[in-house]
């Protein structure tokens, strides 16, 4: 059974935490490049031999994504990150919340971050 979806307040107060399985590189332009293992469905994983190494994929963030990533420290909440984006990019607060939420959801779907 799937857990109930988070309310907006709960989601904003959650703290994003980077996965331990990822590798981070910084490009010459100062952008963040994330190497992450692809997520395999549990039933497929059971069929694979134990010695199988999970394949990796690489994701390069744009300047705004890199900026947000650099502020994910396991302490700042989603709301804090949205506030930093609002201040840095002079966005409307709700627009920044929406943008950070979409960004974290996309990273979460790839198993790069989780919410605590």
């Amino acid at each position: 059974m799937q857990p109930p979806p988070l309310s907006k307040n709960d989601a904003l107060n959650a703290t994003p935490v980077a996965s331990a399985d990822i590798q981070i590189q910084i490009t010459d332009q100062g952008l963040v490049r994330i190497r992450y293992p692809i997520t395999i469905k549990p039933w497929i994983a059971r069929l694979l031999p134990r010695s199988t190494v999970r394949p990796f994929r690489t994701l390069e963030l744009d300047s705004m994504g890199s900026f947000v990533w650099n502020h994910i420290d396991g302490i700042r909440s989603v709301e804090d990150l949205a506030g930093i984006v609002t201040h840095q990019y002079k966005c409307h607060p709700s627009e920044a919340e929406h943008a950070v939420a979409i960004f974290l959801r996309q990273l979460g779907q790839r198993g790069i971050v989780g919410l605590r």
Partner: protein, 276 residues
């Protein structure tokens, strides 16, 4: 915050924000306050609280109550007549012939009702309308109807139409990320040519402004009344460095009078730039 949307003016309570904006509809949402739904439009025939009120109450799930004139002292200063039934308030604007139904999702605090209802004002479609939503403000000439409203992070787009004439207000952000190290003109070429094709001419108007224009094709000039023809366009791109935003106003279709076009362009701004 004052919200001006589709002819309606409303004061958004301090902790609330617009959650949905559509034609003739606004939903305000905020923590620990009842959600507010505002439905509004021009009065097609004089509003009758018994006949129309019953219909509105039924639609709001309040069929067991009646819509009665409001006797609160503050309601005497309104621009129209206020009716009240349970969580529903209906304002009928006499002169401008508009009706607004305000439905609260739960019994609201009386101060909230007063501040929200007394802030309501209505501008009919046959006059210039001012719009102010999130961080942008602009005006639309008489008769232009909202056809599309998209609010995505980084990109707002509002489109209006009147017969064959289309106005598009775009707000892109953050400008520093979009432009990178490119000068505005280079970015304009890339953006405009990608959106409208390479036959659009770009005319720089300084370091933070550029105009673009596309001449009408021979086919359009001969058969302008035919639907489906690609409308000639012109517009202006403005880079607001202090607000980190790019504002684009595009006019498509028959030529708009210069005075109207000038008012359109000068009224399009960010709310923070107006505060300065």
């Amino acid at each position: 915050m004052i919200l001006l949307w589709d002819g309606l003016q409303v004061q958004v309570p301090h902790t609330m924000e617009p959650a949905t904006l559509d034609r003739g509809y606004i939903r305000l949402f905020g923590p620990e306050l009842p959600t507010v739904d505002l439905r509004f439009g021009p009065e097609k025939k004089p509003f009758d609280p018994h006949r129309d009120g019953q219909r509105i109450l039924r639609a709001a799930g309040l069929s067991q109550v009646a819509l009665e004139p409001c006797i609160e002292s503050w309601s005497q200063h309104l621009q129209g007549t206020l009716y009240h039934g349970s969580r529903l308030y209906v304002v009928q604007f006499g002169e401008s012939r508009g009706v607004v139904a305000v439905l609260f999702s739960a019994p609201p605090p009386s101060a909230m009702v007063e501040s929200l209802v007394t802030s309501l004002a209505w501008t009919p479609l046959d006059a210039w309308r001012r719009w102010c939503c999130y961080d942008i403000t602009f005006e639309t000439p008489a008769g232009y109807i909202l056809t599309k409203a998209v609010f995505r992070p980084g990109r707002f787009r509002l489109m209006f139409a009147k017969k064959y004439s289309v106005l598009t207000f775009d707000r892109l952000a953050p400008a520093n990320t979009l432009l990178g190290n490119m000068p505005l003109l280079t970015w304009c070429e890339q953006h405009v040519w990608r959106e409208f094709g390479t036959d659009v001419k770009i005319i720089p108007q300084g370091p933070s402004e550029a105009e673009f224009i596309q001449k009408p094709s021979l086919l359009y000039r001969a058969l302008a009344w035919l639907p489906g023809l690609y409308l000639p366009l012109k517009g202006k791109i403005r880079l607001l460095l202090e607000d980190n935003k790019v504002l684009i106003l595009t006019e498509q279709g028959p030529h708009i009078a210069d005075a109207i076009s000038h008012r359109l362009h000068t009224s399009y701004a960010t709310t923070s730039s107006l505060e300065k």
